[in-house]
């Protein structure tokens, strides 16, 4: 049994079936890329897994537990973490404060009442070193550059240290170097964390992914290695056939 399993997952918006009978299984420690043309239902699938959107049918099984009907904060406590498509750091809080919020291993009110200082050693120090924000500890997140904001968000994910990381287009707007560094980080997380990454940039996908899942119109279209997927005629027709739209899409 996989670490994350989706069984016949469905959701409708009005008459539109954004996700339509999706089945998916991720092994423990696997990094899976989720591809598909714009509007295929990739973001919605992540929403269904993390609890932002309620499923209208099917189930989400995580670590053997049915989380389909849990509130989002409960799923987060089980170890499901999410990076959104739009950068969503807390702009009014400083870098260190953002990370302290992300350090959420003890999310209870009573536990929080007893914490008065942010420990900079241990995990915090490691994470800051990885993303290179040591010199910006007390800068308000709203004043960071676009790239730094992306790093902060990844740092928050690392700080949260969730077992399953859901990422929606993590490299959007990044320079080539930044993208490569992101790929390094993902590769280092492989094995210890299960990851599901929505990504458009095929060169990036080739670097990080072993297995790729392609969605179209809410359904699973194809699954396999990058090479297999790129050869698949169904995929070429639905998505890759037109490289330009695929690359331009966001």
């Amino acid at each position: 049994m996989g670490h994350l399993e989706l069984h016949n997952l469905q959701v409708q918006f009005g008459g539109l079936r954004a996700v339509d009978g999706l089945n998916l299984s991720l092994e423990q420690g696997e990094l899976r890329c989720l591809l598909g043309p714009n509007g295929a239902g990739k973001s919605t699938t992540l929403d269904l897994i993390c609890g932002k959107t309620a499923a209208s049918g099917g189930s989400v099984i995580f670590g053997g537990i049915d989380v389909t009907h849990m509130a989002e904060y409960q799923r987060a406590r089980h170890g499901i973490g999410r990076k959104f498509q739009v950068p969503s750091v807390f702009k009014d809080l400083s870098v260190i404060e953002n990370l302290e919020v992300a350090r959420s291993q003890h999310p209870g009110v009573l536990a929080s009442l007893r914490v008065f200082r942010s420990r900079l050693s241990g995990r915090m120090d490691e994470v800051l070193t990885i993303v290179g924000l040591h010199d910006h500890l007390h800068v308000k997140a709203g004043n960071l550059s676009h790239g730094q904001t992306q790093w902060l968000e990844i740092a928050m994910l690392l700080m949260q240290d969730c077992k399953l990381i859901l990422m929606d287009e993590p490299t959007a707007g990044m320079t080539v170097q930044e993208t490569l560094k992101t790929a390094d980080i993902f590769n280092s997380l492989r094995g210890s964390h299960t990851m599901l990454v929505v990504e458009h940039d095929m060169s990036f996908v080739r670097v990080i992914a072993e297995q790729v899942t392609v969605m179209d119109q809410g359904k699973l279209l194809a699954q396999g290695t990058v090479a297999e997927i790129e050869r698949d005629p169904k995929v070429r027709q639905a998505y890759l056939g037109d490289e330009e739209t695929a690359d331009a899409a966001s």
């Binding site: 919020v101 009110v109 929080s112 914490v115 200082r117």
Partner: protein
């Protein structure tokens, strides 16, 4: 940021010194003057309570006077019973006038001082908790919270006015006995009484600061900015909001109890809409980002009222309204905002502190919510 932590502690120390030493000295230890100032301090306490939920959690409670009023009636019921010991059935005089034969059951426990002191904090907190469960579990936010709390205030005041047999109705509870605490008799016009009130405010401020200085304060600020994002980290947002709302209510109840001691009567006007909106204005003038500033705002505005209302008489509410508009337009962060901007500017001028590597192993969680134009 370390500096906001320092600002908070220094501000708190200065405020404590001000009300403990400077004010009594400035009024030459005159009991009557100090009684007036004690009233300002209790109003400072309720403004501080509002800053906790409005400034930090972003929960605008327009009905803060409801919990204040509950606290005041709790205290007044105890004092009324003490004053009525020798009357028919030990009942308050107004009950006799409305043909009540025996003391209602819910008045009985207020014979006990301990019960009264606990209830003055717990009853407002309990009422707030019920509202919080309803509002925050249902994810009610923003202006709807303001409307619900305001509606609750109006309903509560109506009940207290209409149930005259049990509450004294429009007249409230008057002819109260003085409070006796550990053999100390509270004389509202004594210096010792003033110090008791000042001590309560300083203690309440310390409690409030402990809450907002802890990680709870940080999570509340994060919730204020993006509640959904906070949920995806595993925090139960409703619980945090509920905590802020209930602590705020308990502190307001405490202030209400003191208010009755200062004025020596309880009145349904303590639960009126204008009074409740007044709390919002004091808080905005001082600056809702800081508990100390909010308390100071209440003191300053009420001192102004004391001076100006004798000149304008009827015009005071108009003045207060204009003051509020000016504050919202010109200094949305209140006096505290002006002050902290000035400090910030001074710091950018001095190159020290800049770019210095942080060598410490820990940094205090800062507790100053940043600017937000809305609300």
């Amino acid at each position: 940021m370390n500096t906001t932590f320092k600002t908070d502690i220094i501000g708190y120390g200065l405020f404590a010194a001000l009300i403990l030493f400077v004010v009594p000295w400035a009024f030459a230890f005159d009991g009557f003057e100090l009684n007036t100032f004690a009233r300002y301090l209790t109003l400072g306490m309720v403004a501080m309570a509002l800053a906790l939920s409005w400034g930090y959690a972003g929960v605008l409670n327009l009905g803060q006077a409801a919990t204040f009023g509950l606290g005041s009636y709790v205290m007044a019921m105890h004092l009324k019973l003490r004053a009525s010991a020798s009357s028919y059935n030990g009942m308050p005089d107004f009950m006799g006038w409305t043909n009540v034969e025996v003391l209602p059951w819910f008045w009985e426990p207020f014979h006990s001082l301990t019960f009264t002191l606990v209830a003055g904090l717990a009853l407002p907190a309990l009422v707030a908790w019920l509202m919080a469960v309803f509002m925050f579990r249902g994810r009610v936010t923003g202006v709807f919270v303001a409307i619900i709390t305001l509606a609750f205030l109006v309903a509560l005041q109506l009940v207290f006015i209409s149930e005259q047999r049990y509450t004294g109705g429009q007249n409230g509870l008057t002819g109260l006995a003085p409070l006796e605490l550990f053999g100390w008799r509270a004389d509202a016009y004594s210096t010792s009484f003033y110090y008791m009130v000042a001590g309560c405010l300083i203690t309440a401020l310390a409690l409030g600061l402990a809450v907002v200085r802890s990680k709870v304060g940080l999570i509340l600020r994060a919730i204020r900015e993006d509640a959904n994002r906070v949920r995806f980290f595993g925090y139960d947002v409703a619980r945090y909001e509920t905590l802020a709302f209930c602590v705020s209510a308990a502190l307001a109840g405490w202030a209400g109890m003191l208010y009755v001691l200062v004025l020596e009567f309880a009145s349904p006007t303590y639960m009126s809409v204008p009074f409740s909106l007044g709390i919002v204005i004091w808080c905005a003038v001082g600056g809702r980002e800081s508990l100390v500033a909010a308390a100071l705002g209440a003191v300053v505005v009420n001192m102004l009222e004391g001076r100006l209302s004798s000149i304008f008489v009827e015009g005071w509410f108009l003045f207060l309204g204009i003051l509020f508009i000016v504050v919202v337009l010109v200094m949305p962060r209140g006096l505290y905002g002006l002050f902290s901007d000035a400090v910030q500017r001074l710091q950018t001028v001095s190159p020290r502190d800049r770019g210095g590597k942080v060598a410490t192993k820990a940094t205090p969680l800062s507790a100053t919510p940043a600017v937000k134009e809305e609300n």
